[in-house]
């Protein structure tokens, strides 16, 4: 991409000197991007601590540390916090930081909405987290909130529902902002098919968010009215149907899992060409694959509920539609591989995380294909095999891509290089421990260990001990991640504008750290 930067001029007006006024009222995309990312990191540690409670209890069979009810609260809260508090805000934060400087825009399209979208989140998660101290404890029916089980939730019930409503509103506002930025604020000459892939991934993600977050809002609203206003959407005694809840939830839920992975695809599509020092192998096919995956996500939801008693025709349709997803996903994986083929590879920390992403996400993809086979799913359903599957796509998948992105763009954000030696150490610790945590779960699941239960039969002990050791190793390794970020923010070797010699894109034409205001005059992309 050739860029004319001679017309750029940067505003010299900096951030508000008053600390509280700056961070509470900021409409600057870089400030909000940082807020989103810091919030996400905080939630990652809170949700991770809950995961360690789960793994500590599961270290040995029998009940040792926590009551079963509290165990169930931990599994539920861990999932809700990681999905809505860690992964999704991290991607929104990255979109805030990166889209304007990648597209040549002065800021996001709707800066005040942006501020509002972020500041809803602390309230949403305060509502959710305070349920831990309410009578009856936190929600314990799983993040899927299946009726009628969820109706047994104590005083936490309305807190959970309204927290979900707030998270949904925040996500929809973020998505509208991203779509408006990408559609309206691209630099002159940057056509849609010249956009960076991260922007493409986020454009499609934003449409998924706008389409399905309201469906979740509707589902939890129906739960609320069933509980307090005498409706019977999901209450069989009143003529409702609990299975209907599962259909509505997963109509949201399946696109939701792609909301958590499409931006990761975009990130990896930037990092691999940079460190292979080659152009991406097939840009257009990557865009079409993103679109195909997004479309398919709307017609596969019932593969989460093969065992509810669907007719044969339904089971077959959802099985084949699900397997079809492997085609566009395969296009992406082979694209990354072909990009690396005969490239001048170097293995800095972002590249290591991106490579681990490709390899380990693909393992998660393959176990997904196994789960798609309906007759086999009857054995795997609700077992630790499912837990292994979705943690492989979400932890070494989505979370690794976020870490890769942080290492990749941190020099641009802070103006300093991070400590490469510690970054590599963090990578190897994370990768070894993440596999130690989740790989044994495949075996425990295939052998019949059910999920969401605080105790297990003796023959699963060894796999669980390995997983628990891995989980504590992985969790503690993330303290190193925190240290590396703090160290990089506070100082370090000065980063150049280009940062990585293979990097390509508008953000690398800006000085490091990126000034508070950038591209107030749009660059011209030829």
């Amino acid at each position: 991409m050739s860029v004319d930067i001679s017309v750029q001029e940067h505003h010299h007006e900096g951030p508000d000197p008053n600390f509280f006024r700056r961070w509470l009222t900021t409409t600057n995309h870089k400030d909000l991007g940082s807020l989103y990312l810091m919030f996400s990191l905080l939630m990652f540690f809170i949700g991770g601590t809950m995961a360690l409670v789960i793994r500590a209890e599961l270290f040995q069979p029998g009940l040792q540390l926590v009551r079963p009810e509290f165990f169930n609260q931990m599994t539920t809260m861990h999932a809700l916090i990681m999905v809505f508090g860690a992964v999704m805000p991290a991607f929104v934060g990255l979109s805030n930081w990166l889209l304007p400087i990648q597209l040549g825009a002065p800021d996001m399209a709707l800066p005040r909405l942006n501020n509002w979208g972020f500041w809803i989140l602390p309230f949403a998660f305060s509502l959710l987290l305070m349920t831990l101290f309410l009578p009856g404890g936190a929600p314990a029916s799983g993040w899927t909130m299946y009726a009628p089980l969820v109706m047994q939730t104590g005083a936490a019930f309305p807190f959970m529902i309204f927290a979900i409503h707030l998270m949904g509103i925040s996500s929809i506002m973020g998505a509208i902002n991203v779509a408006a930025t990408i559609l309206n604020l691209r630099a002159p000459g940057m056509t849609l098919m010249k956009m960076p892939l991260f922007a493409w991934a986020w454009l499609i993600t934003s449409f998924l968010l706008v389409a399905v977050m309201p469906v979740l809002a509707g589902a939890v609203t129906m739960l609320l009215t069933d509980r307090y206003f005498g409706t019977s959407f999901f209450n069989a005694a009143g003529g409702g149907d609990p299975v209907l809840y599962q259909h509505i939830f997963w109509f949201f839920g399946h696109p939701e899992v792609y909301i958590m992975i499409l931006p990761a695809f975009g990130i990896v599509s930037h990092i691999i060409p940079t460190f292979a020092r080659k152009r991406l192998f097939g840009y257009a096919s990557m865009v079409y694959a993103l679109g195909a995956i997004a479309f398919l996500s709307f017609i596969v939801w019932a593969h989460h509920m093969f065992t509810v008693g669907m007719p044969l025709a339904g089971e077959l349709f959802f099985m084949f539609a699900t397997m079809l997803i492997a085609v566009p996903t395969g296009v992406k994986v082979f694209n990354w591989l072909a990009t690396m083929w005969r490239g001048s590879l170097s293995f800095e920390t972002p590249m290591l995380f991106a490579l681990a992403f490709v390899f380990l996400f693909t393992i998660g993809g393959f176990s997904g294909l196994m789960l798609a086979v309906t007759p086999a799913d009857f054995q795997y359903h609700d077992s630790y095999f499912v837990v292994a599957h979705f943690h492989y796509v979400l932890v070494p998948g989505a979370v690794f891509s976020i870490m890769a992105a942080v290492y990749f763009w941190l020099p641009k954000w802070t103006g300093h290089m991070y400590d490469e030696r510690l970054g590599k150490l963090h990578f190897w610790l994370s990768t070894i421990f993440v596999n130690l945590t989740f790989f044994p779960m495949h075996f425990a699941g295939l052998a019949g260990m059910p999920r969401r239960i605080p105790d297990y039969a003796l023959q699963f002990t060894t796999w669980n001990e390995m997983a628990s050791i891995g989980a504590f190793g992985f969790g503690l390794s993330q303290l190193l991640f925190l240290y590396i970020i703090v160290k990089c923010v506070r100082g370090g070797e000065k980063a150049t504008a280009q940062v990585w010699d293979g990097a390509d894109g508008l953000e690398w034409t800006l000085p490091s750290p990126a000034p508070y205001h950038t591209f107030t005059t749009p660059p011209v992309v030829r």
Binding site: I176, A180, L183, V210, M213, P214, V215, F233, H247, F251
Partner: protein
Amino acid sequence: MAQPPSSRNARTAIRLLVIAGVMFGFGFALVPLYDVFCDITGLNGRVELAQAAPAASMDDSREVTVEFVANRNQSLPWRFEPVQDRVTVHPGATRTVVFVAENLQDVAITGRAVPSVTPGEASRHLHKVECFCFTEQELAPRERKEMPVTFYLDPDLPASVDTVTLAYTFFDANG
């Protein structure tokens, strides 16, 4: 650029908000859509309720076993069971069977029975002429009540089906 970016942004935002609003409505629209879908296809074991008189033709050559299952929700303090666990019928023939419910409490309780037919493909072919599940049932304290179901299987029942299970679950109608 014909218009200033701010008005274009507002227009994009409003369009996307409209999509979000429509999808919120779509979530609720799934409720009737699901019922319609189940009624048309007979999926989910839904049984069509009031039906006309039985078909004239009776298929003497074929026998189908109909099994009866009686469940009650744990919040309902009743005893509930079929008098006969199973009967054998010819498709087209009308048959009446009896279920018995008994209120185990000293207060009157109203219950509602929700039917389900297995396998799903049989549900469209099992027709009820009379059923206690059509209305709510109130039992006086300690009352024991016999409740008849009159049904027939239509001769179009797929040949692969030789056993049909009719299950009822009684719920406390007051939740």
